[in-house]
């Protein structure tokens, strides 16, 4: 089947487990996130030109690409750092407004995040976001609701957002749970 005419049945491929690493440079106070594949997350601080990167947080996550079973089209999703479900914590946020509107027709809003610092190479295109949305809705076969994925650029002020990215925080922790 030709790519142009195919209605696409998406499938997750090239699934790689690894870590999402948040680093901070204490000289310029810039924050950067990156994906690190492999068994061990980076642990040491390091120098890169003017920057002095310190690891702030490491969480387990996966990265993946999507491919169409029918036509074989491959959509690399290198830019996707994670997904977050809008929990409506900031009434001023445009995503929250969208969420409230969509909730009536049982559409749940998820936000797709790229990497920091923000530039073209690190952000997902609108087209890829649409494909991602298609993929997850195809997987929700029996569902009476649908999902909607929007770009993180839509968030007004990230510092007011309390939602959490879907990733495996605390997985590596060896400390017993603090409270029972």
């Amino acid at each position: 089947m030709k790519e142009e005419t195919c209605s696409h049945t998406w499938e997750m491929v090239n699934v790689q487990s690894g870590y999402i690493v948040t680093e901070n440079c204490f000289r310029c106070n810039k924050t950067a996130t990156s994906f690190s594949a492999g068994e061990w997350p980076p642990m040491e601080e390091y120098r890169e030109g003017e920057h002095f990167w310190n690891i702030m947080e490491v969480a387990q996550t996966i990265r993946f690409d999507l491919t169409c079973k029918a036509c074989g089209k491959l959509v690399p999703l290198n830019e996707l750092a994670g997904l977050m479900m809008c929990t409506g914590c900031d009434p001023k946020c445009p995503v929250d407004t969208l969420m409230k509107e969509m909730e009536k027709s049982r559409i749940w809003v998820f936000v797709a995040f790229g990497f920091f610092p923000v530039d073209e190479r690190t952000q997902l295109s609108q087209e890829k976001i649409a494909i991602l949305e298609e993929y997850f809705n195809q997987r929700r076969k029996s569902s009476s609701s649908t999902i909607r994925i929007v770009s993180s650029e839509k968030i007004d002020d990230i510092s007011r957002c309390f939602a959490e990215m879907i990733r495996d925080v605390g997985m590596l922790s060896l400390t017993p749970p603090a409270t029972e």
Binding site: F26, E45, I55, L174, T175, P176, P177, A178, T179, E180
Partner: protein, 419 residues
């Protein structure tokens, strides 16, 4: 509750030498993932970290002289230690004059109140208080050490106020009346040998509010008054000879009190380790026949405070010379002091309260569970107390892990065995 402390941490300066972590007597400091942090509820402001750090990561927060401009009338209250920073050939009056030259309106020395206070304390001890020994409330760091590590000895802390506080109260009242201004317009500024005194002014553990309004370290004032004093040497005649200075009895140096109080029933301790040993003994009721304990967390007493300029041995020598020269004050009215004593003039008004300990933040069951986890972790640690995980000992590290504040993978020996 947030605890005020007399220093700030400047993490950028930290070179990771781990000296502070080991030096801290209450094990309050950690180096986690390259950043120095501390538990402010454990810090007793002893200044050990400030002292050992070559990079000056811990910076004392001191008042600046300009902070006192808001007062219409400024009274300097020098610690006894200030006088020991100078050779005994320099008359205390010269020091007082120099303080006035740099901007203070008056200077009040604490020796008269000190002497009255000791008289009152010896009177109090004669009444045979139930709880003994009484522990001097002079050293703020000592009080905090007892709050943090020895909560069951809280009742032993003397309920007498410190001489600097009473002096400040009297001076402020006196000048407010004399000048006919509100007492809030009169500022009392203590010249301190250590940062702990600053904490007892900003956030007193002993009472609601301190009478003192601010503090300047001896080190800072020394640089300002020394040139003034050097100039004065040529014109000694300006010195007021009527001034009754005496350097007899008081707190701050070891052994001064024992001469006045019954030496047989009086104990002087300096240095935090030594203090902890004695406090342990008191807890076991092992220490008998002692009525009064005078203790200073600094290694040589207040002359070893970190804001001191002079070598403590020389200070000690200066103190002896001062004592010879200015001896005891004979002029005080015993009957008057007794009257004030019976009117509760010298008392704090209440006992010092313990700080809630970290363990008490959770119920005993959870705490025991953590203890079991701690032991489980501890037995598997190398017990080398290397400090590379950022905790001072393997035991504290195990404790931190059980509390969920550190991760086992921070232990270098685990890392080594997995790489």
């Amino acid at each position: 509750m947030k605890y005020y402390h007399s220093h700030v941490i400047i993490p950028e300066k930290c070179a990771g030498r781990l000296k502070c972590i080991k030096a801290c007597p209450t094990r309050a400091i950690r180096l986690r993932h390259g950043t120095i942090t501390y538990y402010d509820d454990l810090c007793v402001d002893c200044g050990a970290c400030i002292n050992v750090c070559p990079e000056h990561v811990f910076a004392p927060i001191m008042d600046d002289f300009s902070d006192f401009e808001k007062f219409e009338f400024k009274i300097a209250i020098p610690s006894r230690t200030l006088y020991t920073q100078f050779n005994a050939s320099i008359h205390p009056n010269q020091i007082h004059q120099a303080l006035k030259n740099i901007g203070f309106d008056a200077v009040m020395d604490i020796s008269r109140v000190s002497q009255e206070l000791i008289f009152a304390i010896s009177e109090y001890l004669k009444t045979n208080p139930k709880e003994k020994p009484i522990i001097s409330s002079f050293c703020p760091s000592l009080i905090r050490l007892i709050q943090v590590n020895y909560p069951n000895l809280m009742e032993l802390i003397s309920t007498f106020d410190a001489s600097r506080e009473i002096t400040a109260k009297e001076a402020k009242q006196e000048y407010a009346e004399k000048l006919g201004i509100s007492i809030s317009k009169v500022g009392a500024i203590y010249i301190t040998p250590c940062p702990a005194m600053v904490v007892s002014i900003k956030q007193p553990a002993e009472k609601e509010k301190s009478w003192i309004d601010g503090a300047i370290g001896i080190k800072d004032i020394y640089n300002l008054i020394l040139p003034e004093i050097l100039q004065m040497n040529e014109q000694v005649e300006t010195i007021d000879t009527e001034f009754h200075f005496h350097y007899g009895t008081g707190w701050g140096e070891t052994g001064h009190l024992s001469r006045f109080l019954d030496a047989e029933r009086h104990l002087t301790i300096v240095g935090i380790e030594n203090i902890m040993n004695v406090l342990n003994d008191i807890e076991d009721s092992k220490l008998k026949n002692i009525d009064y304990i005078e203790a200073y967390t600094c290694p040589q007493g207040c002359i070893g405070g970190i804001f001191c300029v002079e070598n403590p041995y020389i200070s000690r020598h200066n103190a002896i010379m001062l004592e010879r020269k200015f001896g005891e004050l004979k002029l005080f009215d015993e009957a008057e002091v007794l009257k004030k004593y019976h009117e509760q003039y010298y008392f704090l008004g209440r006992h010092v309260l313990p700080r809630p300990t970290r363990a008490q933040a959770v119920d005993i069951g959870t705490s025991i569970k953590r203890m079991i986890q701690k032991e489980r972790i501890f037995v598997k640690l190398p017990k080398k107390d290397c400090g590379l995980c950022g905790a001072p000992t393997c035991e504290t590290f195990a404790q931190d892990c059980a509390r969920g504040e550190a991760e086992l993978s921070d232990c270098i020996f685990f890392k080594l065995s997995t790489h």
